[in-house]
Symmetry: D2
Subunit: 349 residues, 4 copies
């Protein structure tokens, strides 16, 4: 099987190459980068020095289509929508990292992105790529839209209690996110002297990624939920933790929550439920999953206020991006879902 | 005027000494430390080397009482309650850093601390030391209880909207806190290799400091509120950010919030309201206040869900502890409230 | 093949388990830990949760010997020397992580460790475990002593120029080292609030690990060298960079250095030579190798002063400890030297 | 007295404003910034919000000259040399932060900066602004050139042993430096995801700042020394540590070094000698001086190799830049040298 990555010079592209080099069943056909065409991959992704002698080529879509069984598109939002219709037309499998095909309702693009989607007819062709929700659909899919890192962590953290209709319809997602989610392009926002040591709230209301969380959780809940997400940039390069606060409709208890999470995630290869009563590692913490494809989930219950706290931690570049995309690819191509993803996290780190 | 600090070898003690050295109207009588009696202060607080030749003495309460006009007690919870009755009896001014005299209702100690308070009769003698709420009471007080760092930041962030009765009665406080709040005693929890890079949730429900937040905000609101606080240890040594999520009772807008915050905090010397539409510094962020006595406050409003986001950022060792105590002391002793506290934050840091 | 680890609850033990789980040819017989006997491994090494259901057993040496083809001893200096003679006697292969069998001359233990070595007769039986220097010896060895992380990085950085006798006989090694090298036991030295943000020099002269560097480099040089090593604790959990400053005997140039390094390290699987003229990644930097078994080497030459700067960067827990030990094990057991070690570093991190 | 800062929007400019706000004897006339003219100062230096309502003006040199008794020029290298001749001509006091007037010999600009200095006749008019070396000259000076942060730390660390002619003529300076030394302009080099967690060597040979260190130490030594400096970017925003390795000509001991340092720095207000035998704070560490104008110095001696290790730690924006400039200004204007600089460092931080 031959795969290609369009837009392979960014952080998610680099992480995908790293994972693919560790995958036993694949061959890399092309890695494209407008900015770095002709350059050795290891000059942009220095961790890959000595591991690959591949070079980037230009965004030559025709060549990529001809030589690939599956294409990952890791280009910016707005660029994907220009490339992908041609790939779809040719019937080549594609996994897209952008937001361009995540929402099912073109009206939502108007509302959240202030954007008239040029190909609304394609939206329904894409499966929203969370294996824990859509495993069978992904297996049969040719076109998959990879979720955003805050979206996948929030959806996975909340899915069990939303599916069982345990919670009131306004849910708060307080997200703490690492710098690599902002990509590799320098700006004042990511200037080290300004970014170090921060707990910097940004886009506290109406963050665009709310749309996909609401879409997916409302579908599970079978009625419309309101997701209230507020992200904070914190002092680390990889990882995300979402702390979700919701209120249960009735008085429940921890056993009820254990039951909901256990039944929803039984046998999931990349979900770990973490709620320990002793020791240092009682709840999910991104520190414990960096380098792995795990999403760690946990929860607690506050009887005084009927508040449920749901936690999700993952490596934003792996389960939050490239690892999840590879997991989808494994399903689409009929490989073992874990192939290339059996990477323990590094500890301590 | 002569002041002493009992328990001066901890981080809040050290910060208080640092600030006192910069105060023009005071003389330090005694600094006590059981562990470090006889040792030079600068061996424990290395930043003070070259600035003071003071030495710690043992916890000699009688000597401290005789030589001091005001005593700061920065000893652990449970120890303060043993010392302070003697100071109160002698009529010496005291500012206590522990939780032992923060709650007004001894029943709350039973509920939150699982603790039978041995001196319930003293609780009403203490003023809860937030100048922005109790300036006049503090001026007249002999006994002040200094609030916890998560409590003061949460209370200041929420006071305006609670006072004006704008919000529903369950409020979520999602706190992000630096390591120095855990003190100077090594443990696995604070072992660098385990503590670096974390976003570590802990005590997600029923955290003890909830009690004082609820006490103070309910008093402002004139009816009982439920505060739902969840703290997270993050990767920095100083600073705290609280992100408070509440729901407005009616549809409001940003102007309404501006009005509430502006009127509540008019002319406050150590409150800054931060809500910018452009630039990097749009909301409060602890990075911008480290080293100063400021508490930065901000807010935003989500019309879709009627959610109010209220933010409070401060240096947990200054406005969250020793700086606030000094501000109280200035009021109690009739000094300019800002004396010794005109320290700009360091930027970048 | 069955292997065991004695002292498996420390950071090097945990890293070794992580690597062994990724090794296709081995079975883990026993993992011992006095402190955590009976406990699940993942409670101590939280990154391994979901990947292994192994539990620690007590230090039952006899049981370990009976069930193992090779034993890793990751116990403290001074403890290894008590255990290992019994393993040697039984003829079981051992790779020791302590300093107890690194020095060949028992007199050096007196000098550097102030310690009368109880088994000087065993010292010559141990091969100093650097594959790049002693590959064939390690293949034939039953007993290998794994080098210290500052030692292996310094030796690899300097070997080419020392071997070719290019430098004067006093060499400065200025080391910058991460916290995980100090292990997992809390102390004031490793207390987060004290350890964060440091560039803390310690043991600036006469550091014990100097002894093994001097031993190995003097052997290569065929005359006695003086190594002057000064370590600095820096603000990270993993990684080490050694900056070695020496003076060339004669005027040389960069080509001469390229030749020395290239010829010494031709075809080495885990050495990368890094000296780029452009871009961000011009010299070795531990940031680029965290998570991998690479040792990155680089150099530069200052014609004004005839100074050679030699650089070595590695992950102190991998090539600086457990990865290197596994590489030695692969050689000893006849496996592909790279087995279980084909792990790219994570970038960015 | 009225002072102005040309180029006040950079990090050293911001730090200078912060310090000036704390100075009792001065008035700020103008703060210029081409990029931010018309903007409030606190929008660029967010720590100053609430402390000043000043605004930046354009680089209007004539206006600045007319309204100022002393001008700080904190503009880039190469720009200062265009502005300063006009200020000199008008006889206004100036303290320049750039390298443009640090070297006395115009030939050195050719050699180190590959630059033909347009005003070699002005070089001798400038005093190299280290009060510990040139206090009386600075008192009498109208024109002072403020040293670079790596230069001042290296010179202060080495001056005593060089002055007494104790060391051989090649000295190694291994520097570890924080990010704020690179200024506030985003680039890939300072992109957080690339800059976090680094120990990144750069410009290992022939770094330009070597020239001023060599100039000053050779002058003290009365013969030409060779300084071999290699900087490393490390994971922090403020601070610098230089570890200087030299070899003593004869066998000496620690007492000899104590004598040299004590006699050279007797009564210096901003020098602390740190060499403790116990505790955590045995040597200088930038962590202990952040926020203060101190330069902490320490040393050790290795009898085996006759190596002297000399250490210097300072806050690169204070004693390494703006604090030192203010100290010079206090001398030039006849104020108490410590005025505005009595700021203890923050600990922990």
């Amino acid at each position: 099987m031959k795969i290609s990555i369009m837009g392979a010079s960014g952080y998610t592209g680099g992480e995908l190459i790293r994972l693919l080099l560790n995958h036993s069943k694949l061959e890399i056909a092309h890695l494209t980068s407008r900015q770095y065409k002709g350059e050795y991959v290891y000059r942009v992704h220095p961790n890959l020095r000595g591991l690959t002698s591949l070079q980037f080529i230009d965004h030559d879509l025709e060549r990529v289509i001809q030589d690939s069984d599956l294409i990952f598109t890791a280009v910016p939002h707005g660029t994907a929508v220009k490339i992908i219709p041609k790939i779809v037309e040719r019937g080549i499998r594609v996994i897209d990292f952008s937001a361009d095909f995540r929402l099912k309702n073109s009206e939502d693009y108007r509302l959240w992105y202030n954007y008239e989607h040029p190909h609304p007819e394609l939206l329904e062709k894409f499966v929203y790529g969370i294996p824990e929700l859509y495993r069978e659909e992904i297996r049969r899919a040719k076109f998959v839209s990879n979720p955003g890192c805050m979206a996948i962590s929030s959806i996975l953290a909340l899915a069990p209690i939303v599916k069982e209709n345990l919670v009131e319809d306004r849910i708060i997602v307080d997200a703490k996110i690492a710098s690599s989610g902002s990509g590799g392009k320098p700006s004042l926002f990511t200037h080290y002297s300004e970014r170090y040591n921060v707990v910097r709230p940004y886009k506290l209301v109406n963050h665009r990624h709310t749309a996909e969380i609401e879409q997916e959780l409302s579908k599970l809940n079978k009625k419309k939920l309101k997701i209230c997400m507020s992200p904070h940039a914190v002092n680390m390069v990889r990882g995300i933790l979402v702390t979700c606060h919701s209120f249960s409709k009735e008085n429940i208890n921890l056993s009820r929550l254990w039951k909901a999470y256990r039944s929803f995630y039984a046998n999931e290869p990349f979900i770990r439920l973490i709620k320990d009563k002793k020791g240092l590692y009682r709840y999910p913490d991104p520190k414990m999953i960096i380098g792995s494809n795990f999403c760690d989930l946990g929860f607690d219950y506050d009887e005084r206020s009927k508040r449920i706290v749901s936690l999700g931690a993952l490596d934003n570049l792996i389960k939050g991006a490239s690892g999840n995309a590879l997991q989808c690819m494994n399903l689409m191509l009929g490989f073992d879902e874990r192939e290339g993803l059996n990477l323990p996290a590094l500890h301590p780190l």
